[in-house]
Every structure is written in C-alpha cells, then in structure tokens.
Subunit: 694 residues, 2 copies
C-alpha cells in the first residue's frame, strides 16, 4: 500500500486552508449548476446548455450501483464489467458462468434479458427547496419537522409521478442546503450484448485493484429495449475516432455515490472513531467468511464471487479513507478551514444569528447517534441479518404495514412513487442459494450477539435458544421465500394474512420490526433531522461567504466532473498517462502467469493479431468516487474517449479531500475496446456500431 | 461449516450435569497423575511407571508451538509439517522455498541446521505447591501476594537450573490449584531431515482444515544433535509394524496449549462477550491484511505464508469455540454444573467458609479486567505493534531494565532461568522483511487508534503526528534492528546506552514501556493474582467433593490422553475411521485439480507405484487441542501408529467442553508415511530407520 508523501499532503493543505472554493480540477458538479467559470478560465471551454442536456440524456444510472452511457442510436449502453457483474451472475448457472467466461450475442435474438436490472436516465431537474422548506413550520420540534419533511417529499414525488409518469426522487443536496426533484425515465427490459472474460476485465484481481499502471478491459455492453424493440435514443455519445492526447481536457458524466467532504470536523472524527472502524470490522468478517465459503468448491466460488469482490473492493477503498482520517496532515487543515469559516460567520451579526449554532447542533446530534449507533446499524440497517430471505421478509412486512397508511405518512422507501422499483426487486427471479444464505446469516447473527451482548432480551428472542449456526440453519431451511410465487401470494394478501404466516423469516421480520422502527424513529427525528437543519445552515453560510459556485457532496445522482489526462510521479519514477495492450502480457509474465494474473485463453491465442501499442488504460485528474464506475470519459465534442473503472490508491482519500498531486481516476481507453472487439472477440459488428459506421 | 446436532449436545449436557469427573475418553492427564482407574476399567490396561517414563522421555516440545517425538535411537524427531513450517520458512530464500517444495537430506551432511529452533524434553516433575503457597503470607494483600509469588517462582526456577542445568519452569495447574516444577532437557542444534511438499502436507488447504475425511501427509522429520553428533536417545518410540485396528485403544502424548473447561460461568461469558470477539476481530484484520499483501506477488506470498496459515487456522478454530459459547445448549449445562457444585460447597460449613466466596472473587476480578482489557491487550500484549522490530526493541529495553534488579524481583519472563531461551530468540538470524513489517505495523497502529481513540494522549505520542501508514513506514525504515550484530551491541551495552539509541523502534519501546508496565501491574496484582487465589479455592473444593482423579486445563505442558479409533455419523452418512491414499487422487479430481486441491508433481508421477489402499488418515476419540499438533499416537506397546495433525469441526468446542459423540482427533497413519517415503520420495533409508530395520 502506498502512502501519501509530504508533498501531496501540502497540496491538500493548500486546498483546505483557503475558503472552500473548489480549486484545480476538483468537483462533482450539478448539471444545473455547472462549473462554467472554471472551464472557461482554465481550459477556455464554453460549456453550452445543449452540450449539457445532450450529455445528461446520454448518461445512465444502474440501479444496482454504477454508471453508464448510451453509445449508439439503437439503445446500446456501455458500462464496466464489474458494474454489469451482478446482472451477469444472475444470468449464470453452475453450467454457464457468464461472469467468468464472458458473453457475446452475435445476433439480436441472442441478447439475454437481465433478471432484475433497472436503468435510469435523468430527464430533468426541478429546484423544490422552497416547497420543501415551506412545508416545515418555522421553529417546529424535530419530530414534527421530520414528519412534515417526509410528508412533503412523499407528496412531491407522488404528484410528479402522476403528472409525468417518470420516476421522481427528491434529492437532498448540501446535506440539507437544497432539495432538487430528479425525474428519471426508467428502463427495465435490459439485455446483455457483450462482456469479456472476468480474467481480463479484472486482470490483476484484488491485488491490482486501485493500483496503477493497469491493464483491464473492464467493459460490458447492454441494449435497452422498449415494447420488445431496441429503443431509439437520439442522445447517445459517439466513440471518438482519433483518441485523445496527453493533457487533453476530458469530462466524466456519472453518479458518484457518497463523499463526506463538507462534513464538520466533529462529524469526520465520528466517522474516524466509530463509523468507519465498525463498518470495516463488519466488512472484514464478511470478506473472511465469504472467502472461506468460496474456497470449499468451484461452485461455491462462483456463487460468492460478485459479493466477495464487493467486500474486497470496499475494504480496500475505505481503508484508504480511514488512513486519511487518521492522518493529522489531512485532518488539521480540515479543522483550520472550519475554524476560519466559523470565525467569518461569527464576525457578521446577522450570519451568526442565523447560522452560528449549526456546528454545535451537528455535534449534539452525533452524541445522540453514538448511543444508538450499534442498534441502528444492526437492526434498521439490518447488518445483523445478512440474508436475502430476511430482506424479502422485511420488505413484505413493511409494505403491508405501510400500505395501510396515507402516502404522506409512509416511510420514504415505501411511498407510492418508489413502489414499482421496489416490486422489481422483490419479485426478482435471481437465484438464492440456501447454503450461502445460511453461512452469511450465521456470521451476522454472531456479530449481533457480540455487539448487543448474548444476554440482551431482543438478542435472546432473535436467537430462540440457539447458537448462531444452528439458528441460521433453522431460519433458512424453514423459509419458503426463495419461491417468487410465495412472495407474490404474501404480497397480494394483507397484514393479517402475513401475521399468520408460519415462515420463520416472516416471523423474525415481525419480531425485529418494532425495536427496529423504534431506533429508526430516534435516528430520523433526533439525529438526521437536526443534522439536516444544521447542515442547511452551514450551506447557507458558505453560499453567503463563498458564493454559490460550489458543488455539493456526492449523492449517487448525476454529476459532471472534468480534468486532464496526466501521469504522475511515484517513488521517484514517473508513471505515464497511458499503458498499452502489450503491457498486459508482460504484467502476466512477471507474475508467473498465475491467477489473477493469468490472461484468458482468447488473449493468449490472438496476441499476434493485436497492435500491442494500442493504448489500454489511462489516468486523469477527474474528480470521481465509487458509483462513477462505468461513467463515460468524453472530450470537448462529447465523444467517448474512455470508460472510468477505478481510482488509484492515492485517490482513496477523495472521500474526504480532493488532491490532484497524485490522485488519479483510471479509465479504459476506447481504442483498446475497439481493438479487442475487432481482433480478439470477432465482434466486428459491435465495433462498427460503436464507430457509428455500421 | 457443520453444526452441532441435538444428539451431540445431549451428550455434552450429560457430561456437564454430573460432577466434573471426566467421563468416557475425556482428559488431558498429567504424567504424574495418570488416569490409571479409567484405563483399567474401560480398557483393561494397567499403565506402569516404566511405560509412563518411557513415553514421557520420548516426547518433545517444539518451542515454536507444537509437539513431537523421538522415533529412532539416533535423535530422529517426528512432528507435523505445519509445526516444522516456521523452521522451514526461516531456512528458505526467494530461490529455495522449502515450505512449498519440501526437503530431503539424503546424507548426514545435507541435514540443514535450523535457525532458532529449540526443542524441550521433560525429564522430571516436582510438586512445589507447598513451597509456592508457603512463600505467600496468609491474608496478604494481592499486591504483596503477587510479588511474593513471582519471587518464589523465579527463585525456584533459578535454583533448579543452577542445580540440574536443566531448563526449569514452574507450571500453574488448575488455574492456581497446584504448582509443579517441570525440568526440561533443551536441544538447540536441530537439523532438518525430511519434509514433503506443502501441497500434500496441507492438501485441501484452509477449506479442508478441520474437516474430515482428509488426505494429508502432514509430517516432517528433524534430527537432534549435540556436540556436532546425532544424540543417542534411548527413549524413542518405534514405528508399529502392523498398523492398528478399528476401536483399538490409542494414546497421545503431547502439549495441548490452552483449554478453558474449568472456567467459572462468568468467566466463560467474559470470553464470549469480550475476549473472543476482540481477538477474532484482530485475527480477521490481520488475515485480510496479510492476504492482501500476499496476493501482490509470488515472493510476497512466500514471505507471508506461514503467518497467514496461523491466522486462518486460529480464526477457524476460535470461531467454532465462540459458536459453542454463544449456544445455550453448551452454556446452560455449564451453568447448572457450577450451581450444583456451589450448592454442595454451601451445604458444608467448612467448605463454604474456605471456598464459598471464590466464584464472586473471579467475577470481581473480571469486572476490573473489563476496564483495562483493551489497553492491556494493545500495549502489554503488544497487539498495537505487530512488528518483529518492535518485539526485539521491547525485549532489549526490558532486558536492560530487568537486569538491574535482583532475580526474585524481575518480571517472570526476564528472570535468569529463562534467559538462554530468550537469547536464542533475540539473536535469531531468521530473515525479517521490511515491506511485510511495514504493512503489518500500519494495520496494528490503525487498530490502536480505533480502540483507544485518535485523541488519546499516548496514541498521539505513539503516532507522532502521522497516520498509521506513514508512521509504520517511518519506524520500520528507520530501524536497524534487522541486523543481529546491532542487537548484540545493544544487548551488551547497558540501560543508559540503550536510552541514547537513535533507533526509532527503541525509542518507541521506551515510550510505550511505562504505560504498558502500569497496565500490567494492575493486571498482575488486581486481576491475575485474585483469580489465581479464587481458582485455587475452586480446585480445592472440587478435590474435596469429586476427588483428585481429575485433570487440569491445558497449559502447553506434557499430557497423556487416550481414546479409541472410531468413525462417526454425519448428516446421515457414516464416516469411516480411515481414509486411504487412493482417496487423495479422487479428492483432487473432484475439486478440478486446482490449488489447494492440486497434488504435488511427485504424487502424480508415482501414483502407479503406490498401494492405493494404504490407510492414510484416521480419526479417534482422543482428547486433544491446539498444541497437540505433531504428537505421536501410540498403541499399548508404546509403538507409533499415527501422528496427530488436526481435529474435526465438531472438536472445536473442546476448548470449553469435551464430547466424543462426533468430535474427533485426526492423525496421519504411519503406514502412509512409510509408503510415501518408500514409493514417492525415494527415501528408503529414512523408512528403514523408522522401521528400526536399518
């Protein structure tokens, strides 16, 4: 693992010590608040509204977690192999492993319909801040405020859905500073067109993850259908025909998941001391447990593969973030910047009166949170129940309970606007493996016993006189929820019929529901709502002092980032902005041609046919984070030049603070995609569609 | 992972509900308190003093953690490959990997001297309970009692060493009920004779670990030298020439490490809720960290291999134990047995007066322990400093400090009797890898920050303004302690010269020493000593009520166990007591001949030459635990019939409660050792030495 050098840290310090105007290539910008000024000044690029609208409509969100883009007029969507892997796994069987072996539909009839994949395209954005805030009475107690806010959000979404037929989400920006209504066109008939073998998509595996130089063909193509036909989607991004050059300006349009750059210092300390350590412990135990299961047989490995990757990936990413939080060279400037802002607020009577107490308000909420953190994490976030059966049972139970309430009073995720997407998940026919479910649940029940204590009343009710392994086996073997028809029957019934169910998972979901709702109520009303109000104040204070030319923390919604293709120095050597395809063969050889450094048979076979100097992966200073995986990298003309798939180790601290000293986004160069489609995969027709020359 | 069936649990319950007389084949017996009665009654076997003395003298303790035995008159010692692996790794280089490839010295000159291996042979045992207790004034306060006890133990050991020249250890039995002085002959010139490839020694790897049926040739042979010649050791165990039969009585003589069967119920709850969860978290994070390091290159994998196995092995073993403690079907009978014993004590005025308060005394000590648990674990047990450099630095610092005190006042591990063994370790020339040390230390410093908090004063001193990765790199890169000559110079100097050292690890060891000694003082005086006194009372109460025909919990000292060769039922199928060598080939095939199920080239090459029906591994009801690895399995005539290398999953709860319903010890059958030496490894001369027919 590489470390931050003093130089990098100085870079970060300089960023932090000045008012929080984004500097350099920093920023995950809203499409309705683009960084016009920065682009004009730094790159002499005048971004037009058409350009923005075109790129926005060509961008795709994968509901399974990731980004993508339309790359042909016939509904072709490009993303990463690791974003598509969930869909690939659900289409796989013990006899046909699409994750491992890849797939290529040579004709339309061979395009495989995904089991439960939903894609979203952001059609428009409406600022509803005033509407949301108006619904919350001034001076309302948190309980009342939370209720009013939830009600108005549920209602806005429902009204928008009814009016437009589009998926409608109210998005909280600047942690409560703004509310925007995002309307998405939703696609649920998504078919697999092409995926390479995992061994080249994720060449170098976990060891090479977040490293650079890299040699990964981390791509995957789907086609979106409507009414049984490929959609004709005019806003698509053409593949560039002439590649890109060093230092060239590039853009990334995608869905960064979550950053915590605007958190108060106390909030960062909270993450450092409590939130991240606990979640790292949980991730490690899940990783070790799954690894242990996977090693027992090749079929086990296939079943656990996608989830195991997720844990390995998250563990490595968060460790980089935690190391940053534990480093005074990152934290001290954060503290100083906050102190400076607070001083400027305090110096202005009006600002001080309106916003001065915000930081203490966050701290008070954190103190409360600490007291219920474990319980909330285990029960409401369901970390004690690492089981698909349980999640199905909970959804059924809560759907039945919430459906009896008026829409405005429902828990947000069970409100009417989101029901279609929820059902898409609930009735998924993706396979569930009872042996794997048992192993996972046993481990998480052990985690529950450790955190809340074996003598805890609720724990004893949940365990029903058994140890974790026995109880997990009993719950899983006794449940019939693997059967989609059973789920439909229970869904069609009412709360009372559900209460009569003899399914032990349904019974467990009821058992847990009361205590879990209790802790959620505390969280929603006493922690989240006051923090939302406090962060809204901080955001207003920032707008007042620094202006509105800023970007909010990432929220898994569409953002525009920009930067330059640029290499960097590491341990005294200069890493070039590009690798080439020939490098993959050398890299494999250096590691003894052993997994995960063993190239697939197809690559070994067609080596001679390739132009080994074809650019393969490249790095840029574009500001990205998890969730950006699969985002297109485009040039000034909005042509695709690359495909984001990773960041380097030095970018892992970007959760909390951006620096372009050594932090880099890593992309697949489209030239390598075309070269491999042509020369390795005999997929000329797909390459022609991408070139727009078919 | 398999679970305990209700039937097994009933078996355990019956064992527990009656007074704690060992039942069935339970027990890790002292050689000076053998289970004569049980053996006579159950097996009609009259154990003689000669038999005991012979077996005792033929048994060997590996100081690196494990057991072994003399198996020829020319100093040949047999153990497991996984016990010898530490020595094999220290003899390996990037070019010659003895762990992976095995080794075979065809002639004496080829026998490789191990870097720092020490073997012990228990020569005699003396009961010093009266002497130890007499030195502790009746009614002394814990501080005073602890001091007096440490002093008398240091003194007894020193006097014995001076008188006999033998390594002398006072062993605490029954958690303080008895004190025995163990005198060992020590061997430090130990040479490697033969080891098979790891891929057959640990065939099936981590996935098959603790499983049965098994097919592992987990053996390794060393030769003990004195004055440059093989020792002539008369008490050795001959290989049986006619194998063994189903249900046959067998014995195991070895060094079980640690059991907690006699712990009070409160103490078991303490382990369940605090001790084991914390150590499991630590093990998992170390495993994940090391796995991640190992995956980066083949050489990294070689460097981390032995330690990674240790974590995987411990994690799996402890998880089985923790699942037992979390299972009311195991815990409830424990509670009931304790209540019954306490009732019987309470019913006798004299017993009640002498021993009645013991259980509360343990509980009070545990309450104190809870308050300092993390600090003690991190500082004094050095879990915050996962670094060989640090351990060397601490040893040097404490040696210098302790040497200035009279022997009786020294910390036990720095008292004179143990200095030779300590130096053997301190001046070991085994390679230390700076990259690996950095990765390990960074992770454990992160652990320290998480547990004690980033704002803790001592933590801030330790971190010196850096994050975990930066600080670990600074400490490791700056230290010169990898050089044995540097260690010798510092050892030869005095405390003052050490204080002047610019080595950052030495400076860190000084920095940590004060706080670490403080927390140790609390632990030694206020926790360990009162618990020792309380457990002594409980032991005396047991002796008074149940008689002395019991065995103490394991203490990594020599014990005799017995049992029968016997298969068991699992999930409806009957597992046979034996596997055969041919089964290994089938097992490999079933797993696609992929690592860790890939047989070594030698086995694939010589398959046709083998008698595939040769018994390979077998199971028995003998009561063993970690530390017993490498123990000989012998028959009534004290001939070797097997070699202990594992227990099955159902035996993992034996840390806390024995049951022979399904729990089994797993051994290599000596017939497979001989067959493979003859037919696979062309090692006829070694086979002849083992057969005694050379």
């Amino acid at each position: 693992m590489k470390r931050f050098s003093a130089l990098l840290i100085l870079g970060v310090m300089m960023n932090m010590a000045v008012p929080r105007l984004a500097r350099g290539d920093e920023g995950m910008w809203l499409f309705n608040r683009p960084p016009r000024e920065q682009l004009a000044k730094r790159y002499d690029f005048q971004v037009t509204d058409e350009w923005l609208k075109h790129v926005q409509h060509a961008s795709v969100r994968f509901n399974s977690g990731g980004s993508g883009s339309f790359v042909s007029g016939r509904g072709l969507v490009m993303t990463n192999h690791h974003v598509g892997a969930d869909a690939l796994a659900k289409l796989s069987t013990p006899e046909r492993d699409l994750v491992k072996d890849g797939y290529h539909a040579r004709k339309a009839a061979d395009e495989l319909k995904c089991v439960d994949l939903e894609l979203n395209v952001l059609m428009d954005i409406e600022d509803v801040t005033a509407k949301v805030n108006a619904a919350v009475p001034a001076g309302a107690a948190p309980t009342e405020a939370q209720k009013a806010r939830q009600a108005v959000m549920n209602t806005i979404e429902k009204q928008s859905l009814d009016k437009t037929g589009l998926r409608s989400d109210v998005v909280t920006l600047y942690q409560g500073g703004l509310y925007h209504l995002y309307r998405y066109k939703k696609y649920t008939d998504v078919r697999l067109v092409f995926a390479p073998e995992k061994s080249i998509a994720f060449f170098g595996g976990d060891p090479d993850n977040f490293e650079y130089p890299r040699y990964d063909l981390d791509c995957c193509f789907f086609r979106v259908y409507e009414d049984g036909k490929p959609v004709e989607h005019d806003d698509y991004l053409r593949f560039s025909t002439h590649g890109l050059s060093d230092e060239e300006l590039v853009f990334v349009s995608g869905h960064p998941g979550k950053t915590d750059r605007q958190n108060t210092y106390a909030h960062l300390c909270f993450l450092r001391d409590l939130g991240l350590p606990l979640s790292m412990n949980n991730i490690r135990r899940r990783e070790v447990n799954l690894q242990s299961y996977s090693e027992r047989s090749l079929e086990n490995a296939r079943r656990g593969e996608d989830e195991l990757f997720m844990y390995q990936n998250t563990r490595k990413a968060r460790l980089g973030g935690l190391d940053g939080l534990q480093n005074p060279l990152v934290m001290q400037p954060k503290l100083e910047a906050e102190q400076k802002l607070r001083k400027r607020v305090a110096a202005d009577t009006n600002l001080q009166k309106k916003y001065g107490d915000a930081w203490d308000q966050v701290e008070a909420a954190l103190a409360l949170w600490q007291g219920i953190y474990d319980e909330h994490y285990l029960l409401e976030r369901a970390m004690a129940f690492n089981s698909q059966y349980f999640m199905i049972a909970r959804t059924l139970v809560r759907l039945a309970e919430e459906s009896e309430k008026p829409n405005a009073e429902r828990l947000h995720e069970y409100a009417e606007a989101g029901l279609d997407s929820l059902k898409q998940e609930l009735f998924s026919t993706a396979p569930i493996y009872a042996d794997l479910e048992t192993v996972k649940l046993a481990d998480s029940l052990g985690f529950l016993m450790e955190l809340l204590g074996a003598e805890n009343d609720l724990v004893q009710k949940i365990m029903a006189g058994k140890g974790p392994q026995d109880r997990a086996a009993q719950l899983t073997a006794g449940s019939t929820l693997a059967d989609v028809a059973v789920r439909r029957t229970l869904f069609d019934g009412n709360l009372e019929t559900l209460r009569q169910s003899q399914d032990p998972m349904i019974q467990l979901a009821f058992e847990v529901d009361g205590p879990s709702r209790n802790v959620r109520k505390i969280y929603d009303e006493k922690i989240e709502e006051p923090m939302r109000q406090a962060y809204a104040k901080i955001a207003q204070a920032r707008f007042a002092i620094e202006g509105q030319n800023t970007y909010p923390d990432a929220t898994f919604t569409l953002r525009l980032a920009f930067g330059q293709v640029r290499g960097y120095d590491e341990l005294g050597r200069t890493l070039p902005p590009w690798t080439v395809m020939g490098g993959a063969y050398e890299h494999a050889k250096k590691h003894g041609d052993k997994e995960p450094f063993l190239l697939p048979a197809s690559w070994r076979k067609h080596k001679d046919a390739l132009d080994l100097d074809t650019p393969f992966n490249f790095v840029s200073t574009v500001d990205i984070i998890g969730g950006n995986s699969g985002s297109p990298v485009i040039n000034r003309k909005a042509e695709v030049v690359g495909l984001i798939f990773d960041g380097n180790l030095e970018s892992l601290v970007w959760d909390f603070a951006y620096s372009d000293e050594k932090g880099r986004a890593i992309s697949v160069d489209v030239r390598a995609i075309l070269e491999s489609l042509d020369k390795i995969y005999d997929a000329g027709e797909l390459a022609r569609e991408l070139r727009g020359s078919e």
